[in-house]
């Protein structure tokens, strides 16, 4: 186990009481328990409050553009599969601006873990609706209440037979750590949608709101049963299941390239001999 101090201590710009603090705490604990040294992890994010995470932990970090963390994260893994890749961002970043990339990442199935802080609101830009904001939720930007039906990330992911789909709550750190561990260990694209309350701008889905509703999936729950998982993914209201909803082991994109097994691409020599023969083909 690696000492948790190895992952650093930073002052954050997050509001006191924001769920993000606990997600960060859980991530550090997870990495420590998984014995993952900072140098071996690449932490990739987009833009938003959650996406600032790489600045608050000692890992290799790539803080990219709003919605575009996933494309970059996948390519990091393809270029150097020795790195453990963790993508982390908010619901707006991943499901709004980055919606197309989210769908593509599920299909591509590169071995990485996506930690999606789902506070059902835009935090950094001060409280506009996000794709996961519930219908009728009144915000400054949606004064008449949100009329779009909410995006259900776990149902979409399961619908697409995503390799690993989980839901968690920042208010239950031990459970969150256990889910993160399974996600990172899982070979393939792993989605962890984490309820992480925004105490400043979401007055509906508060800490208490989630606490009251979230319940852990029972020990005998079968995450390989697609129909059952689809049903659980629809459960969002008085009761919300948390835990690993669905697992579908399938070959990852990175494992399809034999030459990647030889190590990072930047260490692989340029084969001018073969290139010379290729040029002969044009003669």
């Amino acid at each position: 186990m690696i000492d948790i101090k190895e992952y650093g201590e930073y002052t954050t710009s997050w509001c006191p009481g924001c769920g993000n603090h606990d997600v960060l705490k859980a991530l550090k604990q997870t990495l420590s328990e998984l014995n993952l040294a900072p140098r071996d992890v690449a932490h990739v994010s987009g833009i938003g409050q959650a996406a600032k995470a790489p600045h608050y932990i000692s890992l290799n970090g790539f803080n990219g553009l709003h919605g575009r963390g996933l494309p970059s994260a996948q390519a990091v893994k393809l270029a150097n599969p020795a790195l453990t890749v963790i993508a982390e961002s908010g619901d707006g970043c991943n499901y709004g601006e980055g919606g197309n990339h989210f769908l593509a990442a599920i299909r591509r199935n590169v071995d990485l873990t996506l930690l999606a802080h789902d506070n059902q609101i835009y935090g950094l830009t001060k409280g506009q609706a996000s794709p996961t904001t519930m219908e009728g939720h009144v915000t400054k930007s949606q004064p008449g209440g949100v009329y779009n039906s909410p995006f259900n990330p776990v149902a979409v992911a399961i619908g697409m037979k995503c390799s690993f789909v989980a839901r968690a709550f920042s208010g239950n750190v031990p459970h969150l750590v256990s889910v993160m561990k399974q996600a990172i260990r899982h070979k393939g694209f792993a989605l962890v949608d984490i309820f992480s309350p925004c105490i400043s701008f979401n007055k509906v889905n508060t800490f208490g709101w989630y606490k009251q509703r979230c319940y852990e999936l029972p020990a005998d729950y079968d995450p390989t049963d697609w129909h059952g998982a689809m049903e659980k993914a629809q459960e969002f209201g008085e009761r919300i299941p948390i835990g690993v909803l669905y697992k579908n082991p399938r070959p990852t994109l990175d494992s399809r390239y034999d030459f990647l097994q030889k190590g990072p691409l930047c260490k692989q020599p340029v084969d001018h001999g073969t290139l010379d023969t290729i040029m002969d083909g044009y003669l």
Binding site: R39, H55, N60, A75, V76, L78, C266
Partner: protein
């Protein structure tokens, strides 16, 4: 640049096989030792429409497409009517006996008799043209064997029989066309087009990742890399869109892989935010921008040079970049290769700005000498480094030591915000200014290595044609024709359009009586850039933006000169 050459235009609908005839004829000519230059005009549709495949061939320097047609291979009636006005005095049309030559001197071929099935008509057509030009049958036989080997012996034999019969049939018609003079060139050259050369240049430089979203005329760069991906061990991934493509590119570059992202105008427009990210993250990335006419979807399969400003100003904020503009197929190889070195050393985006005409233009070139290439800079994969490492350390030349994640104890933090030396977000005014200055200092280093423009012509020419990228060839040939009439004309051709190094060309421009800007857009973007950087205003411009490449005739006519 005295040329004894012929211009062969094969015209017809998409799907009629004109590209097959064209490519085989091009190869046969090059393998016989002739120069070739291909310009392809096609419409944005898979079947139908009117397309042409144009080969200019002969001895001597052939650097530009021309207008006058010596041999017109008409696969349909429309080809005859569309192009008859452009026939040279001795020009002939080759067509099926059922088509009407519309008064042109013609070789009417009984294709039905010569080819047992329509799919063999291509070979019959090829045979007729080749025989008229005087190309040896052996070259064609070898070509057919190589092309159809994979389809089995029967296909090869059938094609050879058609070839033989068609050649024999043509013998009786040989008097209708003067053959090419004996070839003077080297027969052992590669026949490749601009985008193939870009792919080869990238492979030579050690490209390991390519992310793309299909868009004409950039797709063939990725397509070529895909063809060699397994043998050269690289990853080519079709992204969900261009936004993803470049953001993926920056991810692979962060992890140390040399990466190429090819696209065209509309796709590049989507990438501009990530270009800016490359600027602030100081990512070494090579972007190939293959121009076609805009705005928006414009003329998808035609050519233009109107995205210079886009490449120059793409991305919000200020950061340095380099832009190369290949003029020839050899340039495509060399400048792409060079781009990988420059981007690696200066850690900022580098562009290869090509266009549809060059992308699709086949030429006969000598095999690129890989052994002669200076090595490309490599990322630091050493295992020295500790937690005190600063990704964006302030340095005199603006270039910070770049480490890769996972190779040492050094942690690499790349960030999109303004950041401190160790990559953390900052709002400090002082750090902001210092970091911006650091990044911009790299431009001085790049400027010191800017390629001087090429000059063709006599010393002290009174008129100078200024051009960039693929317009070089037509400008050179127009100048040559003017020189033949006694004018003292030179051509100044830029293969790097940013940053500019005025000391390398200003004396020339200042000493000329007349400086004429020639470029493929409506607003003379490059001439304005020269003025912005030097205060020098060109005296005249010749601009083309009808989707077609420049020809010497177009330039001369617009200058009010006789064609010569």
């Amino acid at each position: 640049m005295e040329t004894k050459d012929k211009h062969i235009v094969i015209g017809g609908e998409a799907g009629q096989g004109l590209v097959t005839i064209g490519q085989m004829l091009t190869k046969a000519l090059a393998r016989s030792g002739y120069e070739v230059l291909v310009a392809q005009h096609y419409m944005s549709r898979v079947r139908g429409g009117h397309n042409t495949y144009r080969i200019r061939t002969g001895n001597g320097e052939i650097v530009s497409p021309v207008d006058g047609i010596d041999i017109l291979v008409a696969l349909d009636q429309e080809t005859v009517s569309r192009h008859k006005a452009n026939m040279t005095e001795s020009g002939i049309v080759i067509l099926d006996e059922t088509l009407d030559p519309e008064g042109l001197k013609a070789v009417r071929v009984p294709f039905k008799e010569l080819a047992p099935r329509p799919i063999y008509q291509n070979i019959a057509g090829l045979a007729v043209v080749a025989e008229l030009l005087g190309i040896g049958q052996e070259v064609l036989q070898k070509l057919i064997r190589n092309t159809f080997r994979r389809k089995g012996d029967e296909v090869v034999t059938q094609n050879l029989t058609v070839l033989d019969e068609a050649c024999r049939w043509t013998e009786a018609h040989k008097s209708s066309c003067t053959p090419l003079p004996p070839a003077e060139g080297d027969s052992g050259r590669m026949v490749i087009h601009g985008n193939e050369a870009i792919a080869l240049g990238a492979l030579a430089a050690g490209v390991k990742c390519c992310f793309f979203y299909p868009m004409t005329p950039a797709t063939s760069v990725a397509q070529n890399l895909i063809t060699y991906a397994e043998r050269m061990q690289l990853i080519v991934e079709q992204a969900e869109d261009e936004v993803a493509a470049l953001n993926m590119g920056l991810g692979s570059v962060y992890a140390g892989a040399k990466t190429l992202v090819p696209t065209s105008g509309g796709g590049f427009a989507l990438m501009t935010e990530a270009v800016s990210l490359a600027g602030v993250m100081e990512s070494p990335i090579v972007i190939v921008l293959a121009q076609r006419p805009g705005p928006a979807t414009g003329l998808p399969t035609r050519t233009e040079q109107a995205d210079l400003n886009l490449a120059l100003y793409a991305g919000h904020g200020e950061f340095p970049r380099a832009i190369y503009a290949p003029a020839t197929v050899e340039d495509c190889f060399e400048l792409t290769y060079r781009s990988f070195d420059v981007t690696e050393r200066f850690q900022t985006p580098v562009f290869v700005l090509t266009d549809q005409y060059l992308a699709d233009s086949y030429r006969a070139v000598h095999k690129f000498d890989l052994a002669a290439l200076a090595p490309v800079a490599e990322p630091d994969t050493g295992n020295e480094g500790d937690r005190s490492y600063k990704r964006y350390a302030f340095t005199e030349d603006g270039v910070s030591p770049r480490k890769l994640p996972g190779f040492s104890e050094a942690l690499v933090l790349a960030d999109c915000h303004e950041h401190t030396e160790d990559g953390h977000i900052t709002e400090s005014m002082d750090v902001r200014v210092a970091m911006n200055d650091k990044r911009m200092r790299k431009e001085q280093g790049m400027r010191a290595e800017t390629l001087a423009p090429r000059y063709f012509g006599d010393e002290g020419a009174s008129r100078i044609l200024v051009c960039w990228g693929s317009t070089e060839g037509p400008a050179r040939e127009a100048a040559a024709r003017m020189r033949r009439k006694g004018a003292r004309v030179g051509v100044l051709s830029f293969t790097q359009v940013w940053p500019l190094a005025p000391e390398s060309f200003m004396p020339l421009l200042e000493n000329a009586e007349e400086v004429i800007g020639i470029e493929g857009n409506a607003t003379a973007q490059f001439m304005k850039l020269i003025r912005q950087e030097t205060g020098f205003k060109v005296h005249r411009t010749v601009l083309r933006y009808d989707g077609r490449p420049f020809t010497p005739r177009y330039i001369l006519q617009n200058l009010g000169e006789e064609e010569g």
